[in-house]
Symmetry: C2
Subunit: 287 residues, 2 copies
């Protein structure tokens, strides 16, 4: 790879560029962002070498990383489709993968060059200045190729993400979306729902006044981007709805248990949670 | 005050003793714990001066701080009732206050000497060796006296907690329990419920393998003590049930919104959450 194009010069796109440049300083990085000031920030931060004027120009790069909000992916794919060399690799980084895969047809006969990817990494801060070459170090990156994806492109994507320090795995887009609906999308909705519920009340100020450290950690993710999480919720709607309904059934069992005053059952359910959460904290579930 | 008795020599009791001793080194601290090794730990940690052999003995102190699990409070009150001087101050530190107040009758004609207190402070670690004189610095301590509580005892309790660096407030036990059912007890149940739900599944290991930082913070409180939280849930049952049902109704609205694919409404609800959570994080709701 001689040239890398980063489309969407935010935290993820810029961290990917920074990680690869740290390994191979000769790589030329082209940046494009629908918001020009974002691209300028990436240039000032030294993460990209050139701002590309349009998608036609970035389409010429050897590797394209599309790191835009998930709902903007189709537009980008349409913008590059007719200008892609037949050798290039195209990846996205979105949190939902069935929809990404559904859009690969927009690349026409280049669809085999598209490898959907999801790096499980992030920071509180966003934008080019928050980018870090070490962001993906030790983190999972999940690739969800389809039967139409070229195997040499999957191999190339794997190598590139491994070069950033990530642990690369493959699974189907459907399995990915089910897992992340549970472990990521659901907790975000639950945290948003709690803060929103308090905010509606007459005594909202009093509630927030006395909220302490338990509330702080539980709701940290309720300060996440509404645009990003709205898109994730709607793009992974079916899997997320399954999870939300499943959680609501679970909650009904907890309500019944408290209502009955079933001390034994309540302590037992809590002990199961504590045990799993502690083992998770110790890394016992990692492969 | 010449002598302080700490009944239940865990984190809260020992931190209270350490804070007062730091201010007034001449105070003699008696410690009692149903678990002798806990009392010995407090002695070794230098937080208490003497281990009391029984409740009759600790009842002689000028000030008694009962820092036992909430369900053990009645037994302690019964144990000290017939041995209290008419001048002493008795406080508890439990997370539920209507039940604490309901037990004050166990002190018979000394019931006016009992001031229910709830310090909003804690640490990940428990026990005497985790105690810190600064634990209550800047934290809220809520007193919930009844019409039967002696006003000079409330004044004395206020002064003592202020001496630990805490900000002391008064409210009714009912109001306290409603507020903390919402901001503390409910999030604990929700976090316990999520981890428990995952633990039940065939693919539990896979879910825990891919759970990342959002899950980590959301579920930190799901590693809390099952005994302590079972007791809190059952002792504050009515207020907690109200909150759980209210949250479930809110969740139904979120499910409807995702089901309808109502992008505008979803983004708007998330934006309300983000706004409030960020303002909370900046301390805008503090008095």
């Amino acid at each position: 790879m001689k040239t890398l194009a980063v489309i969407g010069t935010g935290l993820i796109g810029c961290s990917f560029a920074a990680a690869l440049k740290a390994k191979s300083p000769s790589i030329k990085v082209l940046g494009f962002d629908a918001n020009l000031s974002q691209a300028q920030a990436a240039l000032h931060a030294g993460v990209i070498d050139t701002i590309a004027p349009d998608l036609m120009t970035v389409a010429q790069a050897d590797v394209l990383l599309i790191a835009v909000p998930v709902r903007a992916l189709p537009e980008v794919l349409q913008g590059i489709a007719n200008h892609l060399p037949s050798t290039s690799l195209v990846m996205d980084v979105g949190s939902t993968k069935s929809d990404a895969l559904a859009h690969q047809k927009l690349l026409g006969n280049k669809r085999g060059q598209f490898v959907p990817a999801h790096p499980i990494a992030g920071r509180e801060k966003s934008g080019a200045f928050a980018a870090e070459a070490s962001l993906f170090q030790g983190k999972h990156v999940i690739l969800t190729p389809s039967s139409e994806t070229a195997s040499d492109k999957v191999a190339q994507a794997t190598e590139l993400w491994q070069a950033t320090g990530a642990r690369v795995l493959q699974m189907s887009a459907a399995e990915h979306d089910q897992i992340f609906a549970a472990v990521s999308h659901l907790p975000h909705i639950l945290a948003f729902a709690l803060v929103n519920e308090f905010a509606q009340r007459d005594n909202a100020n009093t509630l927030f006044q006395f909220a302490a450290s338990g509330f702080r950690d539980f709701t940290r993710i309720a300060a996440s981007s509404p645009q990003m999480w709205r898109d994730i919720a709607l793009n992974n709607r079916d899997a997320l709805l399954d999870e939300m309904k499943r959680y609501q059934s679970a909650l009904t069992r907890w309500i019944d248990c408290v209502e009955r005053g079933d001390s034994t059952q309540l302590a037992s359910m809590m002990a199961t949670s504590k045990d799993h959460r502690e083992r998770w904290g110790k890394g016992e579930f990692e492969k």
